[in-house]
Symmetry: none
DNA sequence: TTAAAAATGATTAAATTTAATCATTTTATT
DNA sequence: AATAAAATGATTAAATTTAATCATTTTTAA
């Protein structure tokens, strides 16, 4: 499976070697230096590797280490494609907020190559992005919710009230037009609401499988969003309804290659 | 500062960063490129790091167990023995603060079996402790300093002012009776000072090799500490002086196995 | 204290890697 | 099959890193 894709071959090689050169990969993969470099740029933009002038390693700080490049492509193609679209909204120099979650982490992986200010509630996102010098990272602080390893509580909300970001990216476990997005605890719901509060653009990133369910605590009404990004597996009737709303609807096509 | 010390500093930095350049280390360690390169050659010969033309990583295939590197470089074992003593001060149910650093991370490793509230500025410590259900973790929040991957700035200090912990554990890069503990940036110095401010017991954990040097910004006077934990390599004269102070002095015996 | 030895820092030439450009090959579409 | 589009490879100039050299500072030992 993985031998078909050259990017997978590179990741496989990196898993087995601590620190390699482009020359190593040229020999191992049997491709030209130019091709290897072009591949490395793609992998670097996804944050799964780190490069210097002359060296390449796998990024050992990426959460869920065993979730390798190929697994990401197989199991999370919807999140990937949603993140692709979401990341394209960000411009160099922007100040953005990333909510806690795996979809927002995917967005983070796509933003490593540009100067940014990023505020987040997510420990993984903070640690990951802090490796990149052109990105100024702020974590909102507060009690750590261990299911999501992110900050909850009033302290972080205080910081959120003091900033005016360009874009806020919100993720969720459940969403619908009627109930908006909901969360399993009051604290999580409140943090999300605060994240959405001040941003110029408020973007929901949520895959279609989460549509229709809901948790106990309401967090954000759908009318608060300026944009919604979801995938093309969304039900047709719901799709029609979503198109009629005030937010811009973006549908990703997670065609698996 | 001794040469062993700087090699330890490099290893500490590499543990917390995936792939670094000589330039990164020049800034982090405050030595010239030539010196860093000479150090890297030594570490490379020991096999604990890997280098390319332009990049350095820790060798992640070397067991991070208490063997290979620590036998060669003793400061790690000093930190271990200091952490042993420091951790023994903590009782189940306590609320404690852990400053950012590798010594305080060692303390955290020894506290996972008891119910605790832990407040920290360190992303690694927060992420590590959040795995343990009986430990409630709070991160102070704020901008991430990427050399230490910990929180700095006014926002975190605000939280620190609102809590009254049982114990605060402070680490440092430089300490002395005259200058107290000092830090390379004002923001780091201020955060440390705030960490020490409200705790019932304020404990400095600092290995002997760091004694006598100082950075630009003063952070905490020695008179603010209730306890000091250091190792038995401390100079005898200094030892005598330290014993005369108001704090309790604890000397760890880092017997090298 | 003084002299010798070791460590460190600064400078610049050499070596290495990368980016940019363009030709060629492969793949996709009609 | 023909054409367009995309991916790959080769070439060279530019950028970056290193090694070598020597001056300076710090440490060690007499």
């Amino acid at each position: 499976m993985s031998k078909h894709n050259r990017l997978d071959q590179i990741m496989d090689y990196l898993k087995e070697h601590n620190l390699v050169t482009v020359e190593d990969l040229v020999i191992a993969i049997k491709a030209s230096p130019a091709t290897i470099r072009r591949d490395l740029i793609k992998l670097d933009e996804q944050g799964v590797i780190n490069r210097t002038h002359g060296g390449v390693t796998i990024n050992r700080f990426i959460p869920a280490q065993p979730t390798t490049y190929e697994k990401i492509h197989r199991n999370q193609s919807e999140k990937q494609s949603i993140a692709d679209i979401a990341a394209s909204f960000v411009l160099a120099g922007d100040s953005i907020i990333l909510d806690a979650g795996t979809t927002t982490l995917e967005i983070a992986r796509r933003l490593t190559h540009m100067p940014l200010r990023v505020i987040t509630s997510d420990l993984h996102i903070a640690l990951f992005l802090s490796e990149f010098k052109q990105i100024e990272v702020t974590i909102i602080g507060g009690k750590i919710d261990d299911s999501s390893q992110s900050c909850i509580g009033e302290h972080g909300r205080l910081l959120l009230r003091q900033i005016n970001p360009d874009i806020a990216f919100i993720s969720c476990n459940s969403w619908s037009l009627e109930k908006g997005i909901t969360a399993p605890t009051e604290e999580k719901a409140l943090v999300k609401a605060s994240i959405a509060e001040k941003a110029n653009r408020v973007i929901l990133v949520a895959d279609s499988s989460k549509y229709g369910s809901y948790s106990l605590f309401s967090s954000i009404a759908m009318s608060s969003f300026t944009d919604v990004v979801t995938d093309n597996k969304i039900n047709k009737d719901i799709h029609s309804q979503l198109k009629l709303q005030n937010f811009k609807l973006h549908i990703s096509n997670n065609s698996i290659k």
